[in-house]
């Protein structure tokens, strides 16, 4: 009995000593109250629904791609696609900021995955109501299951325009770090986890990941996995391609097979999948990385070009 009390006492000390509030540096971290995602201050630069409020017929028929970033990231993740589009001038990019992202640690902590998804839905609705005819979607990492869930939920069936195509880059259906599957048990003990960012990434990703958001992430990918298990049909005429790095420390490459098996076109066809020779998670984002190779740059350009050609057709 005495041993049990001692053990419980020690356990309480260990638990109490675990800090549940991260040490946020407001001057350098997105988590703080000084750095925000730039799309909040300047939505016209990022959202087509804000920049083109009275589209001409030509603009309505120019492809526009809604680009959704991943968990704990910001619009920064798709900056390079926007730069490519600005140069190509054949399509427009609408970079959405997921709900609860790009603000403060407290905002991130209280957001659900449905909140994350709400900004993609809102942008699609706006573009649809403005009369854009060629809407595409791109989702990187967690952006992918958020878009898959929109297909599964029947959201697009309620819109006048069906998406022409969906591109998924390093989608996460299974996490590479399997500790995420134990977040229900370990989360309340840990409170939050921390990620290391390179100098170029600082201010664009949250450093601290509250356990509440990790639970939301786990819930989202688990729901999506089960939905894929049961089969999801794309809207009529919607094309889908998955690009997946063969080596990825964040999104397990098995995610690509799960999507390939689980998604079907409206005419019972298979979707396209390409396994990419890369070790980067979200290989289309090279900005801010310390170790980019010439092969990484070539792959990024090739994939952007392929997306552009697909949108042209």
């Amino acid at each position: 009995m005495k041993k049990n009390i001692t053990f419980l006492f020690l356990l309480l000390i260990v638990l109490a000593s675990c800090s549940k509030t991260p040490d946020i540096d407001n001057a350098t971290m997105l988590d703080g109250d000084q750095i925000y995602d730039p799309s909040i201050a300047n939505p016209k630069k990022y959202l087509i629904s804000d920049s083109i409020v009275n589209p001409s017929d030509i603009q309505k028929n120019t492809p526009v791609i809604i680009a959704a970033h991943g968990y704990s990231a910001t619009t920064f993740e798709w900056d390079e696609l926007r730069a490519y589009a600005d140069s190509a001038k054949t399509f427009n990019v609408s970079q959405v900021l997921l709900g609860g992202h790009g603000l403060t640690y407290a905002d991130f902590k209280k957001a659900t995955w449905e909140d994350w998804q709400s900004s993609i839905i809102a942008e699609y609705r706006k573009l649809d109501s403005l009369g854009f005819k060629k809407i595409f979607l791109a989702g990187s990492s967690t952006g992918a299951p958020l878009i898959i869930n929109m297909v599964k939920s029947g959201f697009f069936a309620t819109q006048s325009t069906q998406p022409k195509g969906i591109f998924l880059v390093d989608p996460i259906i299974v996490s590479s770090d399997k500790a995420l599957t134990m977040v229900g048990l370990l989360g309340p003990i840990l409170g939050f986890t921390t990620v290391e960012l390179s100098n170029g990434e600082k201010g664009h990703w949250y450093v601290y990941r509250p356990q509440q958001t990790l639970k939301q992430l786990m819930a989202l990918i688990n729901i999506t996995r089960i939905d894929l298990q049961n089969g999801i049909r794309l809207p009529t005429g919607t094309y889908m391609k998955v690009y997946k790095s063969k080596t990825d420390a964040t999104a397990d490459p098995i995610s690509a097979l799960m999507i390939y098996k689980g998604m079907q076109t409206s005419v019972n066809g298979n979707i396209d999948v390409e396994m990419i020779d890369s070790k980067l998670h979200v290989f289309t984002r090279l900005a801010g990385r310390a170790d980019v190779t010439a092969a990484d740059s070539a792959t990024q350009k090739r994939v952007f070009k392929e997306m552009e050609l697909k949108m042209k057709n």
Partner: protein, 196 residues
Amino acid sequence: MKRLSILFLVSLMFIPSVWSQSTDSYDLGIGVRVQKTEQLYWENGFGADFTSDFLLNRKIHLKLSYISSRMGSAFNTNAIKQDNYLIGADWRFRSEKSLQIFAGFNTGFFHADMEIPRFNVLPHNSMLFSLETGLAYKFKFPMAMNLSVGYNLINGNGVSTPGTLFPVFYEMSIFYYLNLPKKSEPKNIPSSNTPE
């Protein structure tokens, strides 16, 4: 893979005949195993549980099982088809009681069927090694039920080990026991030819 499955099944069938050579009494249970992996699949199958007096008075149980998502989540769905071939051993606390506590380990082989050749670049085979603990209840009739939780020490990162090899699993087994008594020693029956 089919060869491995057949070999595994044949070895299960031969267990009783091998152990029947023993002069000790033994319990051999055969039955079903139902497993749910945390945040992943149901993987079901069958297994065997063996113990005997020579295994430290039945404190040690030896186990053999085959479970697969083919008989669980992947049945008629798009889930990944994966197979687990397991052998293991448990230590039983309160081995003389109906309700026993056990702790042990499993090892074996895991295979995930990628089905489509382009995905064969992903890791899909692995050795298994897990720790498991739980409760076993022996009914008055020759059946027992095990409930346990386990942890795969080798779990998949998708780079060197299969991505659908998750760490935590819950398991239920129901065994029917072939409780054979100790073989009696041959009696020394006197015969008429025996010299006085």
